[in-house]
Structures are given as structure tokens and as C-alpha cells.
Amino acid sequence: MSEVIHADHHDDHAHGPAKGLLRWLYTTNHKDIGTLYLWFSFTMFLIGGVMALVIRTELFQPGLQFIEPEFFNQMTTNHGLIMVFGAIMPAFVGLANWLIPMQVGAPDMALPRMNNLSFWILPFAFSMMISTLFMEGGGPNFGWTFYAPLSTTYAPDSVTYFIFAVHLMGASSIMGSINIIATILNMRAPGMTLMKMPMFVWTWLITAYLLIAVMPVLAGAVTMMLFDIHFNTSFFNAAGGGDPVMFQHIFWFFGHPEVYIMILPAFGIVSHIIPTFARKQLFGYTSMVYAVASIAFLSFIVWAHHMFTVGMPLAGQLFFMYSTMLIAVPTGVKVFNWISTMWRGSMTFETPMLFAIAFVVLFTIGGLSGLMLAITPADYQYHDTYFVVAHFHYVLVPGALFSIIAAVYFWIPKWTGKMYDESLGKLHFWLSFIGVNVTFFPQHFSGLAGMPRRIPDYALQFADFNMISSIGAFIFGFSQVFFLYVLIKTIRSGAPAAGRSWEGAKGLEWTLPSPAPYHSFTYPPEVKNEEVHG
């Protein structure tokens, strides 16, 4: 029966992409939109990276050499906002677009037109935000956490552009998440039960729920700012009966789940790459799923650990300290499972595997400094120092970012049909690995010694650590430009890749030819047990 239908309709679906540039504007194809997201996030990553290098140039030596403090503040703020909302999040959404339909055996995303809209909102949002840097009075300069009243009473006039940019980003994320959940819940190939889903799909399912829950909270926070600034309300203004501390509660109620939004898909990616190159099944699939779900739940009840110093009763401090430390349990489960997966495996160390192993090691370092920060009395010392900067850069750069780079190396043969140059990939890895550690490891020390964050100048005693940090930042920055070269070289002249590009790779996407056809799984594939990770 199905064979007959197949023959009848096959011609209708055999067309390729439309020609010309408008293809990218009108496309509803999940692969096209995935590509758009990935290139967009790479562009944002380079812009945010240039800002980071401006910061590190100024901090190379104590004293003010290159830029004004006011511009320095705009650089730190925009670096944070662009990397969080413009680089990491869209990169994960791009990967979700490319991979989720292929991994669950669906022909496309559930809502292809909304998919197009959620992407095309983003360039407008970020043009609007970045354009404020060229306006009179400058762009956002209040830190990426935009605490009121810094971001309301004392904000530059351009803050309204920032607020609407955040609204747009939120709308894009919410639509993207609804699309992802609808795809995963309704469009899986017959036989793919929830507990047979690949880990990347599982982590994105949970991430999408987090996004839907907290993006409206962020939108609410910036809307209250908008009202305080323009409509004379006093949500965050003590003079009118409001409370600036409430801003921090609302922001971090969004902000803490947000940091897991940026790491859960990374967990999924690493759970694909490590089994592939260890040539073993993922150890403890079920516990991995439950660990991700527990981390997601805990992310909602730990927010105040970002604000221990606002003056909280002892009971509150203890609650947030212990609930934060509890997160180490499911995270530990995941780290142990990755290590157990590698245990006695026939390991090889291709570039994606190198990035994945570096992820496990360096993310764990970031997790440990997180535990140190969770200790309330110690946090009074660490709060707002470079120790915090070192902590969250360890979980975001060799954490989230390394996983994205690993994913690109791992799946690029599937996307382009071409294999990257292994020795260039390895060179990129080692440059990045050395660069990231030289940049951020010394910041632990300068932070413990008391160097505050978000300052353009510092006391002489921190000079050496800062100089090392700046050198590392330039190594890291230029190695990402090298990454761009590796990618372009792969796309233009990479060696042809096989359908199953990696010997140990499992999953429905590897049953497709490389490059994956423009329309894949128009008819649901058979889910064979040997392709299932669990």
C-alpha cells in the first residue's frame, strides 16, 4: 500500500530549493532555516567577540589607554547580551532546526512558516540593539543583567530600543520553542517512543519548555522598565512605592533557567559525540533523561543565589544555598555517565571528540567554581568579582560554545556532504583549548584577590593576571576566525563524506545520504533498535 502512495506523490516532493537570494527570505525548509540560524549566530559571535577583545585590550594594562569608561560599559553590556541572545541561543536553535526533524524521522518542523518568522525577527532585533551604540548618549551600559534603576532612571535614552529588541528576541524564542515542542511531540516516526528519542531531542524538548516558561517573565521585566521610564509608574522606583530589589528577583527568576537553556542542549550534543567516538552505547540513557529533567526543575528554585548580598534573611540564604548545591547531583550523574561511556571504549580522538572531552573537563571546572559561589558566606567575598566572570565563562565558553563547535564538526559532513580537514580541525581545537584556559583561568585568581568585574581600570596588583588573560583572549579570538576559514574550506573543497560519516554514529540522520536531501523523511522511516541510543 504505502509503496503505491509513495510512487504517486513522489514527484511533488522531489524539487530542490528555489533559486536566488529570495530563497532565504521565503524559505520554510528546516534545513535552510537551520543554516540561517547558524550563520547568524556565527556573525553575532564574531561581533560579540570583537567587543570582548576591545574589553581585553583596555584591560591589558592598568590605567585608561584606549577607550572611555562609558564606552567600556557599553562593550561589556553588549558583549554579554550579544553572546547570550545572539550567539549561543540562536546557534542551538539552528542545530535544533537542522537535527530534530532528521533525528525523529519527520519531514520538517511542525510549523514551517512560523519557523521562518522566528528566524527573520532576529536580524531586526539585533540591528536595533547594535544601532544604539551609534546613537547620541550611547547604547546599553548597565550590564547584561540590566538592573533597575541603572537601566531605568540612569539609563541612556536608547534604552527603549534595547527594550523592544528584547521583546523581539523573546517572541522569536517563544515561537521557536513552540515549534520544537510541537515537532517532537507530534511528528516522531512510528516506533520512536519518548524513551527512544536521541538525547539531543530530549534536552531540546526540556529546554523548549524552559524557554516558554521564562521568556514571558523576561518580557514582563522589560515591559515594567518601559512603563517606569515612559509612563511614570514605579515598579522599580522606591520613591513611588516600588522596589529595585524586585527587579533582581524577577530578572533572576528568568535568568537562572536561562543559563540552563544555554547548557542543556550542550549536554545533548555531548551525549551523541562521546558514544560515537567511544564506539559504545551511551551509559545510563534513562538517568540522563531524568537528570536533565531534574536540572530543569531545580533551575526555578535557585534564582536568589545571584543576589545573596541584597540582604536576605538567614532562612532564605540557607534555602537558596542548599537548593543550588542540589543541582550538583544530577549534573554529577551526567558527568559520571559520560566518563562511564568512555570507559573501556575503542576511543578515537577526532575533532568533535576532542571538543566534547574538553567540554566534560572544563565544564566540570566551571561547575565546581559554581559550587564555591553557592556557599553563601563565601559568596560575600566572591560577589561581583572576576571569580564570577571566570565561573560563568568556564560554563559558557568551553561549555556551551565548545559543544556547538563540536556539533558543527560532527554534523557538517551530514549538512554539506563534505568532510572537514582533520588536521586543521585539530589545530583549531588546540588553539581554542589553550586560548580559553589562558584567558579565563587567571581570572579565578584575580577574582579571589578581589578584582571587581565591570571596571575599565584596576589596581596594580592585578596587572600580571590581566595581561595573561588578554593574551589568551587574542589567541582564542583569532582561532575562531581560523574556524571560519576551516568551515569555508570544508564547504568549498572538503572531501566527499559518506552517509554514515562516522564509524560509530547512530541515529536516523545517519541513515540519510550526505548531504542530507532537501526534503528528507517525507515518509516516516522505520525506527530500528540498532539506531537507538537508549
Binding site: L111, G240, I250
Partner: protein, 199 residues
């Protein structure tokens, strides 16, 4: 094709549910604001003291067995140059007794301004036991250039104050709300374009 349409219906149902979650979360954020105020009021956490208190002197007697020290702190919010200080830095009072203190304020600028004082009290466990029958913080003060004012504040420390609380610190921050409230028409500044500090 029925499989396809059935799937479309399922997707539609999922999207509707998820959209409801989004709408629900929007209401949740809106509700967070009153919930936050309620939480602070119940726990006294942010040191806010309550509104006007009705005090019946006949029904209560001072607890002469103990004295509680009440410290007064005053400051003006950034950019506001008024003089503002308490008549006495501290008083010792019996719980249950009515006390009157006064605060001095002077508009040192060359234009009429409206000020609003915001109280904050520590320890927070004492917030619900600190009652004010009369306070300048219940209303705004409009002062002409150079005008000064003695502002009374009548308060009672509740007899129920936990015995371990021996000192209460009450701080007042004075905010410039001229722009927010707007000057009445009859005292409009001759130079409306003059910059207003603190925004």
C-alpha cells in the same frame, strides 16, 4: 491523507496548549508584583513600615520593664541637595507608649520642589511592631526655595515586640518627586526648563 490531517490537528492542539502556557506565564509575571508586596508585608523583609495606625491610648499601657533604642537615619537620594536630618539621632522608648520626634527639612535649591520620604526599618522582624500614627512619609512635601520645615512623626513600638530586639534602626530616604508628581499650577516655576535633579 487522513494521517496527515490527524497529525495537523494534533499539532494544532499542542500549539494551543503551549500558547496557553505562554499567556499564563504573562499573567504570572503581572501577579508577581502584588505577590512580592504581599510577601514583603507579611515577612517585613524589605523593612517597609505600615500606613497610618489607629492608636487607642486607653486600651494599652506602656511596658515600663524595658526600653528600646530607636535610631533615626536620614539621607537624600542621589542628586537631591535638601537638608534633611532628625532632631535627635536616637531615642529610648517604652514599648506601648506614644512618642513624638521631629525631622528638619530645608529646600536649599532655588526652585520649588516636592519630596517624598521612604522609610526602611531593620531588623525586619521588628517591622510589624513599629506603628506610626502620624508621619511626614504618608504624604509629599512641597517646599518653596529656601523654605524649611519641622516635620513631626508620632510612633508606638508595639508591646508585642520580641524581647531580643533591643535596637530598631529607622531610615528615611528623601526622593525628589517634583517631575513625577508635577507642581501645582499656582506654584509653577518661572523657569520651567530648569533641570530637575535625579530625573
Amino acid at each position: 491523507m487522513t494521517v496527515k490531517t490527524e497529525q495537523q490537528n494534533e499539532i494544532r492542539r499542542t500549539v494551543k496548549k503551549l500558547a496557553l502556557v505562554v499567556v499564563g506565564m504573562c499573567f504570572f509575571v503581572a501577579a508577581l508584583v502584588p505577590l512580592y508586596d504581599l510577601f514583603c508585608e507579611v515577612t517585613g523583609l524589605n523593612g517597609k513600615t505600615g500606613g497610618p495606625y489607629v492608636f487607642d491610648e486607653a486600651k494599652t499601657s506602656p511596658d515600663t520593664s524595658r526600653l528600646v533604642k530607636v535610631n533615626f537615619l536620614t539621607n537624600t537620594n542621589q542628586g537631591m541637595s535638601w537638608d534633611f536630618w532628625p532632631e535627635k539621632g536616637a531615642v529610648r522608648v517604652h514599648p506601648g507608649a506614644a512618642n513624638t520626634v521631629s525631622f528638619y527639612v530645608k529646600n536649599t535649591t532655588g526652585r520649588p520642589m516636592i519630596a517624598q520620604a521612604i522609610p526602611s526599618l531593620v531588623p525586619s522582624s521588628a517591622a510589624e511592631y513599629f506603628h506610626k500614627t502620624e508621619c511626614f512619609c504618608f504624604e509629599q512635601q512641597l517646599l518653596q526655595p529656601g523654605e524649611e520645615l519641622e516635620m513631626p512623626m508620632r510612633f508606638i513600638v508595639d508591646r508585642g515586640l520580641p524581647r531580643n530586639v533591643q535596637t530598631i534602626n529607622l531610615s528615611y530616604a528623601l526622593f525628589d518627586v517634583t517631575e513625577r508628581i508635577g507642581l501645582p499650577a499656582d506654584v509653577q516655576n518661572s523657569d520651567p526648563a530648569s533641570p530637575i535633579a535625579g530625573g
